[in-house]
């Protein structure tokens, strides 16, 4: 039965503990950011270093090419000197000019390569390698060879022989050979150093790539780990939410079943109380009537019986005043008690009635309730206005009409004597699949301290100048709750009252009653 409170259900649902997640995702985000930063830095370092190292490698190649040119210049110079000497010897022996034809060419070649050597060898090393001395030696050698050729042309063979016997040419050749050796060694040394540096460069490149690769692998692995941990965390949280959801449903079902049981008990209790309380009342009323009738039977007899004057007076008082008075109090009290028990019975039956849920047009449904009160409305000259934002509601028709009817009845009953009654019925949607119906009047209002009390059984508010047992609003509240709604009121004393009924737009048969 609805009057005795489905209200607890709300609190029962709300008391469920909040979702307990694993580690909150807030620690994941910074970790991911750090990983991203580390990975990106590693990649940038690798790219930078590789670029730098390949640039260096390129410069080594240029260096090696230069050293090769340098080496070939040495060899060419040596070859030029030797070729020039061969040409000179041939001419000296045969006196045939044909041998001298390459001489000038080789001399030019020697000079050109001498120039190249100076260019290739850095100024600092020129001293060590006696480059200027080599130049001098080569020039002296050519000068000596040209001298002998000149003497031979002049047919001064004896001077030629004399000159050759000094062995100066041989010495110059030997000396130049020493310098050539030194230069070749220098070139080899350069070459060795450069290729060694290139080797180191290559090694460094390998190391950087390797270390960078490892960092990237590590970062990727860490990211994968974090992401999998995060995924696990999410799935764990989801499982937790699911588990809580299902346990919540279970708890709601348990509570609902429990409430249904309680409701049934209370309903039975109310039914038994009303029936069993009324049985003795029938006796009180019945036997009071019997006494009444007995007194009526006695009265004429006693009137004629011979008695003392005093006795007669006392008996007359009892018979005519005291007994009827007592009987009348007993009767009125038992009638009142009967009415109260009846009211409880009515409320208890309301909860048991099977609801007939149908779509109801708010306007025509309300007008039907108004029609029943029309003559009283006319008497007071009042009017009812509508402002319906929700037009249709699917609920129990009888309950709906009783709710509206009772509230309108109250509005008419407790109107203000100072002004024309004005009632406004409004509806509006509220939240998810719920709506509010507001019934506003400009009546006498309800004092603040009575605003909750008026919904209680047998309680009334204000001047008790109207007939009534204090059942109406208790009944309305029971009806509204039975439809899954709640009724509240707002009032300004002396100005009017607004009753707000919040209920589902479409009534769903509550499990409480079906289980």
């Amino acid at each position: 039965m609805a009057i005795f409170g489905l209200g607890k259900l709300g609190t029962a649902v709300r008391s469920v503990s909040p979702v307990r997640g694993a580690t909150p995702p807030s620690t994941i985000a910074p970790a991911t950011a750090i990983l991203f930063f580390v990975g990106l830095s590693a990649l940038l370092v690798i790219i930078g270093t590789t670029t730098w190292l390949s640039k260096r490698s390129e410069s080594y190649f240029t260096e090696i090419a230069r050293i090769r040119d340098f080496r070939s210049a040495i060899l060419e110079l040596r070859a030029a000197v030797q070729a020039a000497e061969t040409s000179q010897r041939g001419y000296l022996l045969t006196e045939n000019e044909i041998y001298l034809s390459p001489f000038g060419l080789e001399k030019n070649k020697a000079n050109r390569n001498l120039g190249l050597l100076v260019k290739y060898v850095p100024a600092a090393s020129q001293q060590d390698l006696s480059l200027s001395r080599l130049r001098a030696v080569v020039q002296q050698k050519f000068a000596e060879m040209e001298e002998t050729i000149k003497l031979k042309r002049a047919h001064r063979d004896a001077d030629v022989a004399l000159l050759l016997k000094t062995n100066r040419g041989k010495r110059l050749t030997d000396e130049s050979n020493i310098y050539f050796g030194g230069l070749a060694a220098y070139a080899d040394q350069l070459l060795f150093r450069v290729s060694e540096e290139q080797g180191q460069n290559f090694l460094l490149l390998q190391v950087v790539s390797f270390v960078g690769g490892i960092i990237i692998i590590f970062v990727t692995a860490a990211a994968a780990m974090f992401s999998s941990r995060y995924t696990r965390m999410i799935s764990r949280s989801r499982d937790e939410v699911n588990r809580l959801n299902s346990s919540l449903e279970l708890r709601v079902r348990e509570r609902t079943a429990h409430l249904a049981q309680l409701n049934e008990e209370v309903r039975r209790f109310a039914y038994i109380v009303t029936h069993d309380l009324r049985a003795p009342l029938v006796n009180i009323m019945g036997f009071t009537r019997e006494i009444e009738e007995s007194v009526a039977d006695i009265r004429p007899v006693l009137g004629s019986a011979p008695q003392t004057q005093d006795d007669l007076e006392k008996a007359a008082v009892s018979l005519n005043r005291d007994i009827p008075e007592a009987i009348s109090f007993i009767q009125s009290s038992t009638q009142k008690m009967d009415a109260l028990i009846n009211a409880i019975l009515k409320l208890s039956r309301e909860g048991q009635r099977k609801l007939n849920v149908v779509p109801i047009d708010l306007l025509s449904g309300s007008q039907k309730a108004i029609a029943a009160l029309q003559h009283r409305l006319n008497e007071s000259g009042g009017q009812v206005r509508f402002d319906l934002k929700v037009k249709t509601i699917v609920t129990d028709r009888i309950s709906f009409e009783q709710i509206i009817g009772n509230l309108l009845d109250n509005a008419i009953k407790y109107r203000s004597k100072d002004r024309v009654l004005d009632i406004r019925i409004a509806s509006r949607p509220v939240g998810y699949e719920r709506m509010a119906i507001e019934i506003t009047d400009n009546g006498r209002g309800i004092a603040a301290e009575d605003r909750e009390r008026v919904f209680e059984l047998f309680r009334r508010s204000g001047t008790l100048d109207q007939a009534g047992e204090g059942i109406g609003l208790a009944h309305v509240r029971a009806l509204v709750r039975n439809l899954g709604g709640e009724i509240t009121l707002a009032s300004q004393f002396g100005l009017g009252t607004t009753f707000t009924i919040e209920m589902p737009v479409t009534h769903r048969q509550a499990e409480v009653f079906s289980q």
């Binding site: 029936h275 003795p280 019997e290 009967d338």
Partner: protein
Amino acid sequence: MNRNTAPVAIVMIEDDEGHSRLIEKNIRRAGVNNEIMAFSTGGAAMDFLFSGGKDGAAHANRQLLVLLDLNLPDTSGITILERIKSDPHLKRTPVIILTTTDDQEEIKRCYDLGANAYVTKPLNYEGFAKAIQQLGLFISIVKVPEN
């Protein structure tokens, strides 16, 4: 029911003795003079009807009418109704259920079990007195089979 010979005895099974007296008074007011035997417990009534746990043979040659309340402290009125209607000697005895319950299921069940009438006691005295007096008038014209 013949008022002069008054062979029909009324068996009234009612736990509330006040009700019992009021029922009797109001039936009498309707002019019913038949013997009324009042039982305030189901047990006592059963003892009488079935002669202490046997059957209704003792009343085989008697005309009875039973006024039965369903809410009894010891046995349910339904049980008594069932026993009467399944007893070979008592099954034609008219049984009038006189109770406060107006539960539809209960009413159906009583008729299914062979109750002859179901009357709810109005729970206000005016209605109660009126209903019982009307019941008295009704009883006075009911024919009870002679065995």
